[in-house]
């Protein structure tokens, strides 16, 4: 019965899906293909492959105007360190909230949820104020501290996941006299691998792509992030849209690599984390 079912109907279905995929992907095809063409060719025949008018000039120009390596380094540093801190802070807090239930932790859970409902634009100036009080503005370190405050998403995810983790191992460890630190890091945290990966994926995407915060708080060009460089080039290259498309492609490459790398884990992670929350 199973073997026969894989008949014509499902082949048609597969082709149909692939067709829709192709349509879905067109904007990216358009983006990439035109970065290798002269500007005029891009306008006349936007969908064609750059066989006749192939040129790498645009990329050269793009690289010349944006400080790729320095902004890439800034984005990388900020993203990696922030996400690490989020994982550490978030998992620790979620563990207490989930395992050590009392009035305080109940309050804390709601306290951390409020953050989701605050639209970023509304607290910009007081936030700016806070950042300057602690001398966090215009620095990579400052951005890292700022992004660490986004740990409430991680807390939410960890909290939900922990609900489905049995306490047997922790009970055993407690009987053996293990302290909180040891118990958490050696016994509980290894169990949180899949939801940790999910959180990493989401936070990396959000932080890497984030434009608003660096735009507000970073002013020295040496500290720009990669997304800011694109934005800057929009202003500078208002005259050269295909070069601008190049900067977009350049910015997208690292995050795409990351995405391809993590692809398999995305669905697996969502399964374990989001639904249970």
């Amino acid at each position: 019965m199973q073997g026969k079912r894989r008949g014509i109907k499902s082949y048609i279905g597969e082709i149909l899906m692939l067709g829709i995929c192709a349509i879905f992907f067109i904007p990216f095809y358009y983006l990439i293909v035109n970065t290798f063409k002269e500007a005029r060719a891009a306008t006349i025949s936007p969908m064609s492959l750059p066989i006749k008018s192939f040129t790498l000039d645009l990329y050269k120009k793009a690289f010349d105007t944006i400080n790729f390596w320095s902004s890439f380094r800034n984005s990388l540093l900020i993203t990696v360190i922030s996400v690490t801190i989020i994982i550490v802070f978030g998992s620790m807090a979620a563990y207490v909230i989930n395992r050590h239930k009392n009035k305080l932790t109940k309050f804390l859970f709601i306290y951390f949820l409020i953050g989701f409902m605050v639209p970023a634009q509304t607290t910009l100036i007081p936030l700016f104020n806070m950042m300057s009080i602690f001398k966090l503005q215009n620095s990579v370190l400052g951005m890292i501290v700022l992004y660490s405050s986004w740990c409430n998403f991680a807390i939410f995810m960890y909290q939900g996941f922990l609900g489905g983790v049995p306490r047997d191992l922790e009970e055993a460890a407690r009987i053996d006299g293990a302290g909180l630190w040891k118990m958490f890091w050696h016994i509980v945290f290894p169990l949180l691998k899949s939801v940790t990966i999910t959180i990493i994926i989401f936070d990396v995407m959000w932080i890497w792509n984030d434009f608003m915060m660096p735009y507000l708080f970073i002013s020295s060009s040496s500290k720009f992030t990669l997304v800011m460089e694109v934005y800057k080039s929009v202003g500078e290259h208002a005259s050269n849209w295909t070069v601008m498309l190049c900067t977009i492609v350049i910015v997208l490459v690292p995050i795409t690599i990351f995405y391809l790398f993590m692809q398999k884990h995305i669905i697996a992670g969502i399964t374990s984390g989001a639904i249970k929350g």
Binding site: T43, L76, L216, W241
Partner: protein, 435 residues
């Protein structure tokens, strides 16, 4: 796929760390290495030892890019060992204004910044900039022009130049459509639209955030030419937007919008797409300024184009133009002396000339001989006479009114609102913002 991704990722990380460590990557590191090099040189020869305590960095919030200002900054730094200028570029216009507002609101203003028409009011009202009127250079600039960035005799920003905008037109298309001379009145201008449309080419387009320009220019020609203080009257409450702006707006609307001569396509274009279309002969006219010249010539060196100014029905012309953005010193700066020195540096004649080549603007400092090597040369006389104006500089609550004007004109074009109601909305907005 996974292996390739891993390899690429690893490769990129290694490269970035390496280049970061050696500090030789990126233009932003050049300034550092240069000043470091000079420091070592100075201490080697034993003269003029600049101790690290004397090294000062002044920050400049800039409307202009590293490419445009870089040369001047390096030269200044070379002359003034011990001072480094940290350029913080933000693209004009709205982004710059937004960033400026955030810095002001949080008390984090840079040592120097550029003052634009949009921020002038804020600076005057809140005392954000130092008074520069004692600088020598202002003796050579017309008092009325200096007043653009001043108040009551004090001057808050230094600018050696002014820009004038006009209507670029494609000479070949004009010829082919049977237009034998540049329009000298509003009606002739509208006729050009009709002739071009008949010929089969799009006569004129704006980009989405610039659709107010024709209506505004008509207002300038019709009202400001006879009443130069019309906007001041509105500020003082002696008149209203409804009184002064309705007539020109209605004429603009009837002649260009109701007639269908002005295309709604403008609302969906950005400035870049518009320029592209003009350069490729897809549209015969577009509004623009000296800043567009380099781009036009680079994109299509063969384009036969020129520029003209719009007039009203009687041939009165008041061009859109204003003093260029000016350099200001923040009142909250701790390095005012150094900032002062930089402005004095920029006001040297040779630097004014060099700067003119960067901006293609007109010099408003008396006694300097220069040539504008662009089609805008024809407006040189207008600059001297002061025959240019921009309401945004005069309006109270300028930024808010400007935004409301833009939205209103867009609404009028889409038919969401009546044109007669737009000046009324401006009055309402003014009342709201004055509370």
């Amino acid at each position: 796929m996974r292996k390739t991704a891993l390899f690429l990722a690893g490769f990129m990380m290694i490269i970035s760390v390496l280049t970061g460590c050696t500090g030789s990557a990126g233009k932003s590191n050049e300034a550092e290495t240069q000043t470091q090099g000079k420091e070592t040189a100075a201490s080697d020869t034993g003269e003029g030892n600049v101790s690290s305590k004397d090294k000062k960095t002044i920050s400049l919030l800039s409307w202009y890019t590293e490419e445009q200002l870089g040369e001047f900054l390096r030269e200044f730094e070379a002359e003034n060992q011990g001072i480094t200028i940290d350029l913080q570029y933000v693209p004009p216009v709205q982004q710059y204004v937004d960033k400026f507002s955030v810095l002001v609101a949080s008390g984090q203003m840079t040592d120097m910044f550029f003052t634009a028409a949009e921020t002038k009011r804020d600076i005057v009202d809140k005392g954000l900039a130092e008074d520069l009127s004692s600088m020598e250079i202002f003796n050579r600039i017309d008092k009325n022009t200096s007043a653009t960035y001043g108040n009551d005799g004090e001057i808050y920003a230094y600018s050696p130049d002014a820009w004038i905008a006009g209507i670029f037109y494609n000479k070949v298309l004009f010829e082919e459509a049977g237009i034998d001379k540049v329009p000298e009145t509003w009606d002739e201008f509208v006729e050009c639209f009709a002739k071009l449309k008949e010929y089969g080419v799009e006569p004129y387009l704006d980009y989405a955030d610039g659709v107010h320009s024709l209506a505004q220019i008509l207002y300038q020609c019709m009202v400001i030419s006879s009443e130069p203080d019309a906007d001041e009257q509105i500020n003082n409450g002696n008149s209203t937007f409804t009184e002064k702006y309705t007539e020109p707006f209605v004429i603009w609307y009837n002649d260009l919008i109701s007639s269908g001569l002005y295309s709604q396509v403008s609302l969906g274009l950005n400035s870049e797409q518009l320029l592209d279309m003009f350069v490729n002969g897809e549209v015969a006219m577009m509004g623009g300024g000296p800043w567009d010249v380099t781009t036009i010539e680079n994109r299509n060196p063969d384009l036969d184009y020129d520029v003209f100014g719009i007039s009203d029905k009687n041939g009165n012309t008041i061009l859109s133009g204003a003093v260029g953005v000016g350099l200001s010193i923040s009142t909250s700066s701790d390095n005012k002396e150094e900032c002062w020195a930089f402005i004095e540096f920029m006001s040297r004649e040779e630097n004014i000339l060099k700067w003119q080549k960067v901006t293609n603007n007109f010099i408003i400092v008396e006694g300097i001989d220069y040539s504008v090597d662009t089609v805008f040369e024809r407006f040189k006389g207008d600059v001297v006479e002061g025959n240019f104006y921009l309401p945004q500089i005069v309006w109270k609550n300028s930024a808010g009114i400007y935004k409301e004007l833009l939205i209103g004109i867009q609404d009028a074009i889409t038919g969401t609102d009546k044109i007669e109601n737009i000046p009324v909305r401006l009055d309402e907005k003014q009342a709201e913002l004055n509370q």
